[in-house]
Amino acid sequence: MAQIFKKTTNYFAQTMVFGAVVVVGLLGWAVDRTSRSDYTTRAHLEREQPVPFSHAHHVGGLGVDCRYCHTSVETSSFAGIPPTKTCMNCHSQIWLTSPTLEPVRASFRTNKSINWVRVHDLPDFVYFNHGIHVNKGVGCETCHGRVDKMPLTAQENSLQMEWCLNCHRNPEKYIRPREFSTTMGYEPNGDQEEIGKKLIAEYKIQDARALTSCSTCHR
């Protein structure tokens, strides 16, 4: 009886079997990398704004405190986007004729807000409160990165749930004294874990069980 398959079919079959494992493994790896990539999370992507506002210039160069503009960050869930009037405090005096700032002046004249593009946008099913974080010693920099070095603002972190849980599971690795909350480039004075543990006790930060309870963030 004639053979249906050539002898080389054996190699083909073996390659298929082991190849399938490799291909499935590679696919899994690719999905994993993609789902965490900046492309998916939009981290490090500088968003186009109506006015190219530079945190690097205002914070890094001039030393304006975060709370000068984001006034409600210590008391509210929302840090607050400053009204045009806040810009005009200075810009009614300096850079009066700058064409770049025309949208700001126009907004002031017409009483219409500037449509800033939101950079950090959490899903609606997450309850997030800036006030509690700042008051318990989470620095601005911890989540937002070195804003003082961003000419155009970009999201520093993935904002994925695993990233939130990094800190909610081990807050001692990230907590700093409250007086340094807006400091950029903060360096702990000693061992971070030790300081963190002390601060957790002092600020009465709840244990990981309460911090990682579903309803802490998903209310």
Binding site: M1, I4, F5, T9, A13, M161, E162, W163, L165
Partner: protein, 461 residues
């Protein structure tokens, strides 16, 4: 084709294969079902009904996905109803196939050689039907991969203390092992079909499935080891899968669910319904394809005995359940049982008692066991009874749970019916494809039942 004359006598009551069969004629008869160009009207009729129901299933699933779980009769507090009933029913049916193929193999029950192939196919198709319900009953079924622990960006894992997660592992392991066992067992027969097929395309297709099977001594040695190992793997699954399924209920504190004897009770019920399905499939098939010499009355008798034995265990469990509710003295448990027997689901309860406790006792009599028609009707009664059992356990307990203010009688919708009947359609569709395309009886294992296979070596005398 075999050269011998085909003089096959009618099988006697105690025989598991009729006299007159030879290696050649066994192979001829089983392979002919697949390789013949002629397809019986019976096959077309069943297949047409199956496709109709399958289309109904697609419609029901479409309605479910576009409109949500509300299309089913699920309303608080009955958030599990037909979906989980169907799941448990289908998983249970699968168990007989594994029992026949694995446990009876290890116990050297050679009569299982004639029924193991289609029983295993039944297992795989039943598990396929069962496996869909946990996914369909999710609010967001497209996120069903969340059931598996994988390195996700949420930084969390499924709750390993939940029996629902154990279920995922139990059922997926079961599906994998059953499919492997079935495929390994098919290889020698696919080799036979490859060699017998005349159509070149069929030759290639069966050849791919046979994976180079040539029937050499080395192949057989490897095959024997592999099938024993797989039987060893599958054996604990017969007991563990339905045990885990029963944990879905027992771990909950709902009155009527929270009992320690659920695992053995569920396993017995699974095998009970599974053997009913084996009979319901074997009896018409052996008539249509004229296989009464291979699937003899002895097989039906044995299957009926297993069905009766497990049915009696199930009946004992019902009595024990009621006794434990009374003897335990827990008012909620007692109330749950009183509601079950006299409440809004009393009709379903007493029908299931009739089907599962009264009906199997008829099988004590040889007269009933030796009549295929009666056995066929009885197997349908058992299948109905076992479906009602799961329905009553799930729905009666949930509809009247601890908060009387939220009690509500469950009402099924047409989509409940269509989804359920649709999975029967899917099962039948797959099963009849199997009957047409693959040998429904294991050719090489039946050959070992022949007297001529019992050759002894020179030193053996």
């Amino acid at each position: 084709m075999a050269d011998e004359l085909q003089v096959i006598e009618e099988a006697r009551p105690e025989e598991i294969i009729a006299r007159g069969y030879t290696f050649g004629t066994v192979t001829d008869q089983i392979a002919a079902v697949v390789l013949s160009k002629h397809t019986p009207i019976f096959w077309f009729a069943c297949f047409a009904v199956a496709i109709g129901l399958l289309l109904g299933f697609l419609l029901a699933v479409g309605a479910l996905f576009t409109q949500g779980l509300g299309v089913w009769g699920l309303r608080g507090p009955t958030m599990w109803a037909w979906d989980i009933t169907n799941f448990v029913w289908w998983v249970g049916i699968g168990h007989a196939g594994t029992l026949i193929s694995a446990i009876l193999l290890l116990l050297n029950q050679s009569w299982r050689n004639s029924i193991n192939r289609f029983a295993e196919a039944m297992t795989i198709f039943a598990v396929a039907c069962a496996g869909m319900f946990p996914i369909l009953h999710l609010g967001r079924p497209w996120l069903m991969f969340w059931l598996f622990p994988y390195p996700n960006t949420m930084g969390i894992e499924p709750n390993f203390r939940s029996p629902l997660v154990w279920d995922v592992f139990a059922v997926s392991t079961y599906a994998t092992v059953s499919a492997l066992f079935w495929f390994v067992g098919l290889m020698p027969d696919l080799g036979t079909l490859r060699d017998r097929a005349t159509n070149p395309l069929l030759k290639v297709l069966y050849g791919v499935g046979a994976m180079g099977w040539r029937g050499s001594a080395r192949h057989w040695a490897v095959y024997e080891t592999a099938s024993l190992l797989l039987a060893g793997l599958a054996t604990p699954l017969v007991l563990s899968v339905h045990t885990v399924v029963s944990f879905d209920f027992t771990v909950g504190i709902v009155p009527g669910w929270h009992s320690t004897f659920f695992p053995p009770y569920f396993v017995a019920g699974a095998i009970y319904s599974g053997f009913a399905m084996v009979l319901a499939l074997a009896i018409p098939l052996r008539s249509v394809y004229n296989l009464k010499g291979l699937i003899t009355d002895k097989h039906l008798d044995n299957a009926a005995k297993v069905m009766m034995a497990t049915g009696l265990i199930v009946g004992y469990s019902y009595i024990l359940e009621a006794f434990a509710a009374w003897y335990g003295g827990n008012v909620y448990e007692m109330a749950a049982f009183w509601n079950r027997m006299t409440g809004p689901y009393k009709v379903q309860y007493w029908v299931l008692i009739t089907c599962n406790v009264v009906a199997p006792n008829a099988l004590w009599f040889k007269k009933f066991r030796s009549s295929p028609v009666i056995l066929f009707i009885w197997s349908l009664i058992v299948l109905v009874g076992m479906w009602l059992e799961r329905f009553v356990i799930i729905v009666a307990s949930l509809a009247q749970d601890n908060l009387p203010s939220s009690w509500r009688v469950f009402e099924s919708t047409r989509w409940d019916w269509l989804t359920y009947l649709g999975t029967i359609g899917l099962f039948t569709f797959l099963f009849f494809l199997f009957v047409r395309l693959l040998p429904m009886i294991s050719i090489f294992e039946v050959r070992t039942l022949l007297p001529s296979a019992k050759v002894k070596g020179k030193g053996a005398h």
